[in-house]
Symmetry: C2
Subunit: 491 residues, 2 copies
């Protein structure tokens, strides 16, 4: 019997991300990163209880010898870290002594390991099913990240919160996403969960919770498979997916037959058929993400910035309705490759000729370079004509995506640079005022001036991608989401 | 009439890359990067002649008022930078005054611009055809980079030489390749040419020259199209391509119909049919590169390191004969995605079971992680078992490609790290002693410790890629080249 997926329950998942009391058993120096995580986030240490039979103090916090000594009778979140052989006896012992709302079962080596581990999972489920007021995530997972709840399992996770929700069936990828996404693109998160083997709480439940959580506007999922103990997990997930109110970027691992074998030894889940997934992508508004964390981060970056831009302006989000692209170059050779890449990906690249090119030539008549799209006139990038031509081109063809190639300048204090940078700011402002997408391409290479320039751009909320390919593929996902939304409204 | 493609001529192209005397006309401060390029490379400034009617000195070098004042009667390389209207009269004037072996026509706005520019190119060709001892590259190009000849058109180009040859129909991409390739992967070059609109010297001629040049072991081409003035350029190129003795990484721009339009306004060339190119890729040993400079740099990086490894050992190069891959993980979640990516790309990923997994389990029996390939045991990465298991796995399945995921360590002075790093060095050594490919994956993110670690790895000649996808795609090109070579030998 699956536990209920009710509104009441949704409310109660809140506690998982905002626990008033936390206990860690068995607390050990080896897992002090959990403790450091809480400390770093500013969690009230009076409500963090370490239980250890062997250690007196970890990271400056004194340890309790057993549950009996705790000054509270109820624990909102218990982080359970014991050898797998001790999981069942520990849980029985805990249940007999104290009231626990949520358990994060950290222990690995269960369902993903062997038949003995699988048996432990069956017993776990049985035990938990008898305690409807106690819910558990895991086993084999890193747990919760919730900056508003001041919970983190690594001290390096950002303290500032945002509006992204994460549900990951891999602790490593979950951690990587948070750290890299924050460092690289300044992403901020509302709630994240490394959910593991899903013996009790299912992905569908957390997803449903996030879908109804006003602090979350965008959800990323890394999915490997369903627990064999939950035969209805698939249909439950599908039902949640059908009724999503916000963008969900959905990445699956185990798409190939060979990887399905690997999934078994990773989370012990049953990987699902690709055909079924094709149907799910078709029938629900979720956005498919290829198997790459970098790609998932890229997609999130654009959605996050796009959504938050509208939020800041208190405007309803309008997604791209078409895929007409204008490219403004920094170098001519790049333009040919960009044209190849963009048209191969299916974007439309209006060619300026006849009356429309005349309009542009009136602003800047030139024999060198090109105004035909790509616009190839980097040598005037610091002049008002650069802005005028680009703006006119956007207007003329009702462009949906503006891609501007840029490059780092050695001296960002000189007037030429300042005029150029102003052009970029104004073009961004103009494009976004039309509810369109503005992306800068800054090629990746090791250089101090590039680093400085990149920081400046990210600070000014430019969307910056290293390649035209990644920019275009990401834009297409935003476009695809808009199309899906539209279809849903019209159906 | 095309100029001859004889052995004599091949010899003479040498001079283009090792000019004993260079003149720049019209020398201007605006193009001082040319001059700085020569200075930086250590070119004998007594043999660099600046000709300017307006300036007395540029970058510390005095200018001559006219050709008549030069202390020499012959110039090996003339860099010609005049407005397009002055190209023909300037050339006629030069020819009447001095003997010139090679001209680099820098001037843009000719065949790629309009009918007037096209007419200028026709006249240029006519003029040059009458001077069989004077050859020209361009117009509309950046020219020559040749560290052994002490020639560079940018001061930032590396002085140290290597064994890569570049032929690019885009000055921007040529420059980017040299700068990024050197900075990112420590690539070094023998000769590079930004060749432009190809009014006189053809891509096929330079390619043939490079093919017979013992200083070059690997050639990269960026191709946009043929000059309309050279109807036989296509068949000439094909004939050279058929008889290549070394790897040529061939990237085309203008593959899509939309980009073909853009090519016209970039180099004024006729882009060619994709079907023809499919046949060419099939019938010649060249390696197709998708339209991305980053990808071309990646491919070059692996070929360059691979070739030079054998050269250092004075061994005959052996290319991969199969594509069996072993993955050694840093994190479990990554393993599923890696498996998906690798198998989707067509690599073989032997699954360890039965007798073969028993062998591995004898070295390290564990319930956590996996030995089935991917090897998932990062927590023992600093132990001798890590090396032993990986080595045994490589041996057991005669692995062709070893991919090891790694990550930066904050402290690279501690013993754990040193043991780990030794494992990496030993695994690389072992793999390479079997003539196999060893690639590290170090994910990209902004971090000082990552930077330091990356530098260390590149210094120790590790092949480092940021994603498993780029690593695998690049390996497959090496494999493809081996297959093509084999087919050629057997046919």
């Amino acid at each position: 019997m699956d536990k209920i997926n009710s509104e009441e329950h949704n409310k109660s998942l809140n506690r998982l991300f905002r626990p008033r009391t936390v206990a860690i058993y068995e607390a050990k120096s080896k897992i002090s990163y959990f403790i450091e995580g809480f400390i770093q986030q500013g969690y009230d240490l009076n409500n963090l209880f370490l239980i250890s039979s062997t250690e007196d103090e970890i990271s400056g916090i004194k340890c309790f010898k057993s549950y009996d000594k705790l000054p509270v009778e109820s624990i909102d979140l218990l982080i359970l870290s014991v050898r797998r052989e001790l999981l069942i006896p520990s849980l029985k012992d805990i249940f007999s002594r104290i009231d626990v709302k949520f358990i994060h079962i950290f222990t690995a080596g269960t369902g993903e390991a062997d038949e003995i581990g699988m048996q432990i999972e069956r017993e776990l489920k049985e035990l938990l099913d008898k305690k409807p007021n106690t819910r558990a995530i895991g086993p084999n997972c890193m747990g919760i990240y919730s900056p508003r709840g001041k919970v983190a399992y690594y001290p390096s996770f950002p303290i500032e919160s945002g509006n992204i929700g994460l549900i990951f069936q891999s602790g490593d990828l979950h951690s990587r996403f948070i750290k890299f996404g924050n460092k690289k693109y300044n992403l901020h998160f509302s709630k994240g969960i490394s959910i593991g083997n899903c013996v009790d709480i299912q992905i569908s439940e957390v997803l449903d919770h996030f879908n109804n959580d006003d602090e979350i506007d965008l959800i990323c999922v890394y999915f490997e498979g369903f627990s064999t103990l939950h035969p209805k997990a698939g249909i439950n997930l599908f039902n949640v997916l059908k009724n999503l109110k916000k963008p969900v970027l959905f990445m699956r691992g185990g798409n190939t037959e060979r990887a399905k074998k690997a999934v078994i030894s990773h989370t012990g889940s049953i990987a699902t058929k690709n055909k079924i997934w094709d149907a799910i992508y078709n029938q629900t508004p979720i956005i498919e993400v290829p198997p790459s964390v970098d790609t998932l981060i890229n997609y999130t970056y654009l959605f996050y910035n796009y959504i938050n831009r509208f939020k800041r302006l208190k405007k309803k989000i309008v997604y791209p309705k078409d895929k007409k692209v204008l490219v403004v170059l920094w170098s001519g050779g790049f333009g040919i490759l960009a044209t190849d890449i963009l048209t191969e990906l299916g974007l439309k690249m209006p060619y300026f000729e006849g009356e429309s090119i005349k309009k542009l030539q009136e602003i800047y008549p030139s024999k060198i370079g090109s105004l035909a799209n790509p616009l190839d006139l980097p040598w005037i990038s610091n002049t008002k004509e650069y802005y005028q031509i680009s703006k006119t081109a956007i207007e003329e063809k009702d462009i949906d995506l503006v891609i501007v190639e840029t490059d780092a300048w050695r001296d960002i204090e000189n007037e030429r640079f300042k005029s150029y940078y102003n052009n970029l700011l104004n073009l961004k402002k103009y494009t976004e005022s039309k509810n369109k997408v503005f992306i800068l391409i800054l090629h990746e290479y090791p250089s101090k001036s590039r680093e400085i320039f990149y920081e400046k751009l990210i600070g000014d909320k430019f969307i910056v991608f290293p390649t035209v390919k990644s920019a275009a593929e990401t834009f297409l996902k935003l476009y695809e989401y808009g199309i899906k939304l539209n279809k849903k409204i019209n159906s």
